[in-house]
């Protein structure tokens, strides 16, 4: 395993574009901390974001994992091009001839995916811990380490998304097309959802119907469903909503085992299909 990782990280690290993207990713992740310095004023009222409770434990786990997940696209590009390059350079063929088995090849790629997901998770965990201790109103250990399932969900989410990217890289063989395909897939899921929900079943946005049920089984939707948006959970926002006279928005922000299992099933499908494609294909 050490050998495979060393092979893969040499391939990534020696590539300038990949190196820059990986570094950019981690720099941008640490910029989440800068949110704390945002201040804005409504009339004479000055609001400092950090004081609005976004860095309170345990809410910070939810908020930071949600925001950090946006940056995953940087690593997605690295992963897709890492795979597609092997095809364009013909090095996949050469690696196999040099004595790497197809199984080892796939394994090494998924080890990279796992490492990226793990490193991001660890980074976000440490950063949230530091930010939380600097700004949180509650510092009791039991509160600090509650709701840690968001960190776990973040890891699963990244691992699944990167696996999907890798699978597309293997399927499409060209990085630009694979990323395009990823976008098309995302759009297609949404269009499918709208058609089922609004056109076929004639639903509206207030109520849920079969469209909402089925869409959560789709890969991208299931991944984004793992960690729901945290903004409306904030006390400040809730206050505003109530003041506007809207109906009490009862929303479930927690992470469910069923959602995790859907994502895990997709991940397994991506890994196995990638292996199957590689095995069947003549190079």
């Amino acid at each position: 395993m050490k050998r495979l990782l060393s092979i893969e990280f040499q391939k990534i690290w020696k590539n300038k574009a990949s190196r820059v993207l990986v570094l950019t990713y981690f720099v941008l992740l640490s910029f989440i901390a800068l949110i704390s310095s945002i201040k804005f004023s409504i009339g004479t009222f000055e609001i400092r974001i950090a004081d609005q409770g976004i860095f309170n434990f345990p809410y910070i786990w939810h908020f930071n994992t949600y925001v950090a997940a946006f940056f995953k696209i940087f690593l997605a590009i690295v992963i897709v091009s890492m795979m597609a390059n092997e095809y364009t350079y013909g090095t996949l063929k050469q690696n196999l001839i040099d004595g790497l088995s197809k199984k080892e090849f796939i394994l090494s790629k998924f080890l990279v995916v796992g490492t990226f997901a793990l490193a991001s998770t660890f980074f976000v965990f440490v950063m949230s811990l530091i930010l939380g201790y600097s700004f949180s109103s509650y510092n009791e250990l039991s509160i600090v380490f509650s709701d840690l399932e968001y960190i776990f969900a973040f890891f699963i989410k990244l691992f699944a998304f990167f696996s999907f990217c890798l699978f597309l890289g293997i399927l499409v063989k060209r990085s630009a097309f694979a990323l395009g395909f990823l976008f098309v897939w995302f759009v297609a899921e949404n269009i499918f959802y709208w058609i089922v929900k609004f056109v076929i079943l004639g639903g509206n946005d207030k109520t849920k119907n079969f469209g909402d049920t089925i869409i959560q089984y789709f890969p991208i939707e299931s991944m984004s469903n793992l960690i729901k948006e945290p903004v409306t959970r904030l006390n400040a926002i809730k206050t505003i909503e109530n003041a506007m006279g809207g109906a009490q928005n009862v929303k479930d922000y927690s992470i469910h085992f069923s959602q995790i299992s859907i994502v895990l099933v997709w991940t397994i499908i991506f890994i196995l299909t990638s292996y199957y494609i590689l095995k069947k294909r003549d190079l």
Partner: protein, 299 residues
């Protein structure tokens, strides 16, 4: 003699129409230099691709080193270059070779030695993408030799190179062959094969036409090249000879193919008895090229 590679009734169908390899069987023994000959599209590269784990076989069997190890582990003891050199363009020559070492699971100590062998030691810290085709091809050879392989497989190693490049590659191959490494060389360049190889396998449209030593292949047909002042008379006299298989006229000379081995003196005596004095008599064998063309055209 130790068998390095055994291929039995190997078949590859790409689709309904393309049957690239048909029932090919042969064996590679240690210490010999083999040539695989065949026109474009004859299944040479596909056959090599199958034994090198990059193309899936349709049916048949092959085993490396008596079948004791898995194919990918066996390939760690094989050095192979196919068609064009494949390396990471953004890495230097040294880094690329170190990566191959990691894949093969060996130490980096041979990297410099092999770069020196192919004359790239001075350029080892330059990126692969800055290399010329000849240098790329030489780097590929260095890479294939990294592990001091049991067998070196070369698929068209001189393709697209200029005369100097071809010469360099050929010299390197000769050095390697002289060190006793088993070599399997697929090539169009028949004089190259004739000079370097001891054994040949001839393929056409996926079928194996010949397998054996170069010596035997050339020995099969020796023939005479004759010239006399009256060619038509010569022809009519010879067509009465019972041992002559066929006659062919070429550039004012008559090519005479006997049914079996015949001494030049015997033929000369026969013609002299029939009042023909020859101006020109040569007993010769087909070059590998002629033999190859005959084999691939006439069947």
């Amino acid at each position: 003699m130790e068998t390095i590679l055994t291929i039995r009734k190997l078949n590859k169908r790409f689709n309904k129409y393309v049957h690239a390899v048909k029932d090919v069987s042969f064996e590679i023994h240690r210490g010999n230099v083999y040539g695989i000959l065949g026109p474009n599209g004859s299944g040479k590269s596909t056959t090599l691709g199958i034994v090198l784990n990059v193309v899936n076989k349709t049916s048949g069997d092959f085993e490396w080193f008596g079948g004791k190890v898995a194919t990918h582990d066996a390939l760690k003891k094989v050095g192979a270059i196919i068609e064009r050199p494949n390396f990471y363009p953004y890495m230097t020559a040294k880094e690329n070779l170190e990566l191959v070492c990691k894949i093969k699971g060996t130490s980096f100590e041979k990297v410099d030695e092999k770069l020196d062998l192919v004359g790239l030691l001075e350029r080892k810290n330059d990126k692969f993408r800055t290399y010329s085709l000849g240098m790329k091809q030489r780097l590929a050879i260095a890479s294939a030799l990294l592990n001091d392989p049991e067998i070196l497989i070369l698929d068209e190693p001189t393709n697209g190179l200029d005369p100097q490049g071809i010469r360099q590659i050929r010299d390197i191959i000769k050095v390697i062959a002289s060190q006793g490494t088993t070599i399997l060389l697929a090539s169009h360049l028949l004089d190259e094969v004739e000079k370097v190889c001891s054994h040949v396998v001839v393929l056409r449209k996926g079928e194996m036409l010949y397998q054996g030593t170069v010596h035997n292949m050339l020995d099969q047909n020796s023939f005479f090249e004759l010239q006399a002042s009256d060619l038509s008379q010569l022809k009519s006299v010879l067509s009465n000879h019972a041992e002559i298989d066929r006659l062919e006229e070429q550039d004012g000379k008559l090519l005479v193919y006997p049914k079996k081995e015949m001494a030049a003196s015997e033929l000369n005596a026969y013609l002299f008895q029939n009042n023909i004095v020859l101006e020109h008599l040569v007993k010769r064998k087909n070059s590998l090229e002629e033999q190859f063309l005959e084999l691939t055209n006439n069947n």
